[in-house]
Symmetry: C2
């Protein structure tokens, strides 16, 4: 018997990542196409269908090799129906994503949130390493998250679960967040937050490596590796609040792994070591014993692998 492949699709604001993935989580073939946001994003499902057909032709494989599609999308989604209420960056509003993609591809489709499928990918083949209770945090322009309990994504009552970035880390006097609140973790531990805080701190450190010109998160971590006092203070600050928020979540959910991904996580130990120290201040001893904070390992492939997992588990 020939094993079937799953199609993992990870939709972002600029590109769509796609892959054929075998039942063991290995990528057979992958590619990407630009996200066409013209005409309210209505060409996207056709673009996906075309990529699939071209990829099959390129591989010389017939379509019945494909089992189903698992796709991650940004925005507010009804996971059960695959209906998109709104996805601002894509241009979708009240869009029947699942139904349209099924019509265009003639394959069964399951839809979930983009942060969630990345978490599933890390659980299956990445840093999760078999752990079925994990928290995934993505530190990028914003702070995203996925909560996995007993091997399944927690969606909550209307799909909003996992909004770790909007945990209030500074209850009084925090920086205003895009969500309308203030002091959210996203205003502190995202690349944007790190750069803002560094700009604020640097005025007290005229001799810092960061003292001249613009500052981004990468520069802060590079300066910290050279023991720059200002940069170390910034990292201490942002990991303190991240450790606080993650420990509180760990006390409530008792996860086995906390997986840190996104651009900021590339800083490696420069980020993870102070994070671990601050996390320990706030976590219950028995919870601490059984959890480890680890960097994400799949990079850009997390989404397509997680999409394939979704297809594999939901379309049996």
């Amino acid at each position: 018997m020939v094993t079937k492949w799953f199609v993992g699709v990870d939709l972002g604001g600029t590109t769509i990542k796609l892959a054929f993935v075998d039942p063991y989580g290995d990528i057979i073939f992958k590619g990407e196409v630009p996200t066409n946001t013209t005409n309210g994003g209505t060409n996207i499902t056709t673009d996906i269908a075309k990529w699939i057909d071209q990829a099959l032709e390129h591989l010389g494989v017939s379509k019945d090799r494909l089992h189903s599609i698992g796709m991650g999308a940004p925005g507010f989604i009804n996971m059960e129906t695959g209906y998109i209420y709104q996805a601002v960056n894509i241009g979708w509003k009240d869009f029947h994503l699942k139904d349209r993609l099924e019509m265009d591809t003639s394959l069964p489709v399951t839809i979930d949130n983009d942060a969630n499928i990345a978490a599933l990918g890390e659980m299956w083949r990445g840093a999760g390493n078999g752990a079925k209770n994990l928290l995934c945090v993505t530190l990028g322009t914003g702070v995203g998250g996925g909560v996995i309990v007993n091997g399944s994504i927690v969606h909550g009552v209307n799909g909003m679960a996992g909004e770790i970035g909007h945990i209030t880390a500074i209850p009084k006097g925090g920086f205003p967040c895009n969500c309308g609140k203030a002091g959210c973790l996203e205003t502190i531990s995202s690349a944007t937050g790190i750069s803002r805080i560094a700009k604020e701190f640097v005025s007290d450190f005229p001799n810092s490596l960061l003292a001249n010109g613009n500052i981004n998160a990468k520069m802060v971590f590079e300066a910290a590796e050279k023991n720059d006092e200002c940069a170390l203070k910034v990292i201490d600050h942002i990991t303190y609040y991240l450790g606080f928020a993650l420990a509180n979540l760990a006390n409530s959910l008792n996860p086995e792994k906390i997986v840190i991904g996104g651009g900021v996580s590339k800083a490696g130990e420069t980020l993870l070591k102070p994070l671990e120290n601050h996390f320990q201040l706030f976590v219950l001893p028995r919870v601490a014993q059984s959890v480890s904070i680890v960097p994400a390992t799949l990079g850009n492939d997390a989404g397509v692998i997680g999409g394939a997992w979704l297809a594999k588990t939901k379309n049996r």
Copy 2:
């Protein structure tokens, strides 16, 4: 066909509550026996077996009417094996609870944490009212919790999930907690915390109703109902931190209900109204839309009804 009954057992430090519960969650017959902690708690399973036999005799019903037992116990438990690592108040250490109770009763047994079965009871027949995503918080001598996702208790990797009382609410300079950390929610929003904080605050309010003698949590709520300024300040303080902790959890889990139980919850609106106001400060708008904070409704019956639910769902 005669419907079978489930035996719900809720073990506390002073009494064991027991009930026969039908498949629809109605209590057929209930009772309680003192918790015998002598001899390392080894008589407890026999006491349960005896109560069951006597209750059946009293009702004139044969034992094959009983389907199985669901039991909640305090302490550190392996939920899969029903093995108790330690339950200090009971006297158990390395105790095969499930196996012993099965031997004594000849019925299949499922064991879970006491806070968790209370949460299941509220989900099934109490304030949860059909919601399958809920947080339950018990404000008593301590602060306990149960997290339910998709209708199942979240246990985490080693059964420690739901420790809502040990969410750090005051990250710096908080009051020391029994767990070894400081500033835990339990040090603030428990009956013990409320009484401690009131004693602290009252020195600034010599004319307060609380100014003379000892203060307990009940007195604080009674004084607040009479608009006592000090009592209102105490309640504002403790609901601020409770609202903060619960909103952060809600942002991560997107529950439909937050059920507040335990002795302190008897204060009703005097507690819930300021809690709701503070919760709103920290919760994401879309999460806020779909969640309600409600008082527990089953009182002392929550545990036995939840135990029956556990038996019903786990021993099919």
